[in-house]
Symmetry: C2
Subunit: 208 residues, 2 copies
């Protein structure tokens, strides 16, 4: 499936784990910095000096870097990683990140904690962040981690506002006929479902 | 509309502008840092030292900070700001950010540049990021910046993958009857439309 840009990578799983252990703390630290920058009320000089330090850090990290984007990699051991992914990327400080579990029965479950960077209406999650989490878990559910699928249509019905804080998403395959897979999903807070979704995913002809 | 958490703020517009001029460069610098952290291949010691520096910066910015989230503020001069917003927040390094223009004829137009932090399939924008941009511009179009609306349903139809890079979004009101406003929108790259959307927005009874 090289036409899709999936990269078969020689990196042994052990080295993938080592790199994640090294880089995840950096992403987590930057995620906290993003929140702090939204809410800080420190004096101008401190903001300017922080800006300068962040620029220096960026230049240091860019002294050596991979070209393009993080992409989706897998190795001969069957380990896959997509560190830059906007929903689940472990090295992406802009990802919530969504942490997922795929059950043997084909259903999937995920958790995320939404904070100041995910706000839409005051105190509530942005509808687009709700859609991001649902789109991701539903796409993965359609693919069952074993086939390629493309999102055809995604419909999200917002039942009420989703307060910032811990949320969970659930998804399951509703029907699968030929190349068309229909997945239903929901996003919940501790008081129940706040948004429901239905998605139609398509398995490309060449992947059947 | 205090029940919605909108904050009427004494801050003069001049001070709002001054704060934006101070904080936008910090958010932009952090946005670059997010990308650099995804792609860097520098040695372990540099990654660890960067992590430590980011933590120190966060602690400095948190010495004084607003409580809760950024929220949506407006002042008696009619200036509004939502610095933490997940799609357009000027102080939110995790926002793409979407830059919008609302035309007198009621249509809206916006631009964003998607990068390594917005990836879904290799080299392509995450479907959820496409949904985030569409949800935002369509909601604003429904509200016309002058009334409160809630998103009822959002349907996104993905026509093809959206390459990372510059994108634009367009939206217009398709119909408005009673409390129900239907908005249509699209997201395009330089070769044309990649996703279409339809959203149903509801004006709460008390806001009519």
């Amino acid at each position: 499936v090289s036409g899709l840009g999936l990269v078969l990578d020689d990196l042994p799983s052990e080295e993938v784990e080592r790199l994640e252990a090294l880089h995840v703390p950096l992403a987590e630290a930057i995620r906290e910095l993003v929140s702090a920058a939204i809410l800080t009320t420190v004096d101008d000089a401190t903001v300017r000096s922080a800006t300068e330090t962040v620029r220096e850090l960026t230049a240091e990290l860019r002294r050596e870097q991979a070209g393009g984007t993080a992409g989706v990699h897998h190795n001969p051991e069957g380990r896959a990683w997509n560190w830059g992914n906007a929903a689940v990327g472990l090295r992406n400080a802009a990802a919530p990140p969504l942490v997922m579990e795929h059950r043997p029965d084909g259903t999937a479950y995920g958790e995320a904690t939404l904070g100041p960077a995910h706000e839409g209406p005051p105190g509530l999650a942005h509808g687009g962040i709700v859609a991001l989490l649902l789109d991701h878990i539903m796409g993965v559910t359609a693919s069952r981690y074993e086939r390629v699928t493309f999102t055809g249509t995604l419909t999200v019905r917002f039942l009420r506002g989703t307060p910032l804080g811990p949320v969970r998403v659930d998804a399951r395959i509703d029907s699968a006929e030929g190349r068309k897979v229909v997945v239903v999903g929901s996003l919940s807070d501790e008081d129940g479902i706040t948004a429901e979704a239905e998605g139609t995913f398509v398995v490309p002809r060449w992947a059947l």
